[in-house]
Symmetry: C2
Subunit: 201 residues, 2 copies
DNA sequence: CGGCGGATCTGACAAATGTCATGGTCCGCC
DNA sequence: GGCGGACCATGACATTTGTCAGATCCGCCG
């Protein structure tokens, strides 16, 4: 019997997953939560065989949670499930020690298959998302460029960004300009959007 | 037996919903799709008793689809299910003829309840979302302000927006400025974000 | 060592954006 | 008819943002 931990922020969807997986022979949902930090705590306490983590979660996002679970509950294999096929997410998930990565665009039947495969020591990477991630170049932005982009993401004016990062306004403009050029965007806001789509932000 | 149409873009989630609702006595899923336009077509062809529509869908969003289904398949009661509790969405859903509105934060058990309630001629509005929508003021933007905001949402420069809308650049700047003021934002991009959060965009 | 490349920072200048005063049109209302 | 208010539209001016050339520092390789 595979003991499963389920973390997914939308209660309704989580309940549906329980219904789906509860019908699978050999799989037992031993814990569920809608928060990333809760997921880490439950993984430590319940010691499940496999943890299914959504990426969008309050408290701690699924990737962070995956990293901590891999470290603090080593016996627990992690599968990331996500609705957004951001290439950068897959890369980060692998770095965080995840052994499965599945997009929500897949038919429902794959989920149980992946759980069993990962439980048996295998790995599973969504082929479409893997292709995207491998085609895609790595994030070309420097740390400072990422900092400024992140700070600009909320629509903050340069003056505030400069204050937050303890930089001159000219410098902030420079980093943003550089990021815009590298991402082939028309302005900083299009750059933010693009970086976010790539999962870099 | 309640004949149900299910429209939700994430295949995996849709499958889980089928598993959840399939276990419910008296409910039968007669059709499912991941596209809004498909949902309208299926509603016409299959004449289900109730249609569950997610808002985020390709082809046609759930609110548009709700409106068309109410018109083209009058016997079909529409329930909107959404992950984002945008106040404006609820208002638009009501205007589109929806008879149920449920956030994905609800426990799984409510879904079947709502379906039965709506099928029996009742209505169901998520209490939390209703409270938000009633607290919230209506969208204060004029049609032209909304047009320009929408056009600006992708990060397009004023010059392009002006060309698209056949306006002078000064006029476009004026509308955007007005929208920014009304939304108490710092610049157009923060305004876009805010309008989107409200479900106005 | 010396030179090269890349990252970090800055100010000056050019371009885009935000603000304001203004005028026109339409519509409801007294 | 005349008035007030809301919306639409514009150009001029102030502010913010984007671009560029350059300075400094540091690791790396010949």
């Amino acid at each position: 019997m595979i003991r499963l931990l389920l973390a997914e922020d939308h209660h309704l969807v989580r309940g549906a997953f329980v219904a789906l997986l509860g019908a699978e022979p050999g799989i037992e949902v031993v814990g569920e939560t809608g928060r990333g930090d809760e997921a880490v705590r439950l993984a430590r306490e319940l010691r499940p065989d496999v943890a299914i983590l959504d990426i969008d979660m309050p408290g701690l996002d699924g990737l962070e949670a995956a990293e901590r679970i891999s470290r603090e509950a080593p016996g627990c294999r992690v599968v990331i499930v996500t609705g957004h096929g951001r290439p950068g997410y897959l890369r980060r998930a692998m770095a965080a020690g995840a052994r499965g990565f599945v997009g929500k665009d897949n038919p429902a039947s794959v989920l149980a298959t992946v759980i069993r495969q990962v439980h048996d020591g295998g790995r599973y990477i969504d082929p479409d998302l893997a292709a995207d991630a491998l085609t895609m170049r790595e994030c070309p932005l420097t740390p400072r460029e990422l900092d400024t982009l992140r700070a600009a993401a909320g629509g903050a004016p340069v003056s505030r960004i400069a204050r937050e990062l303890h930089l001159s306004e000219g410098t902030v403009r420079n980093y943003l300009s550089s990021a815009v050029t590298k991402l082939e965007a028309e302005n900083r806001h299009a750059a933010v959007r693009r970086a976010r789509d790539m999962g870099w932000l």
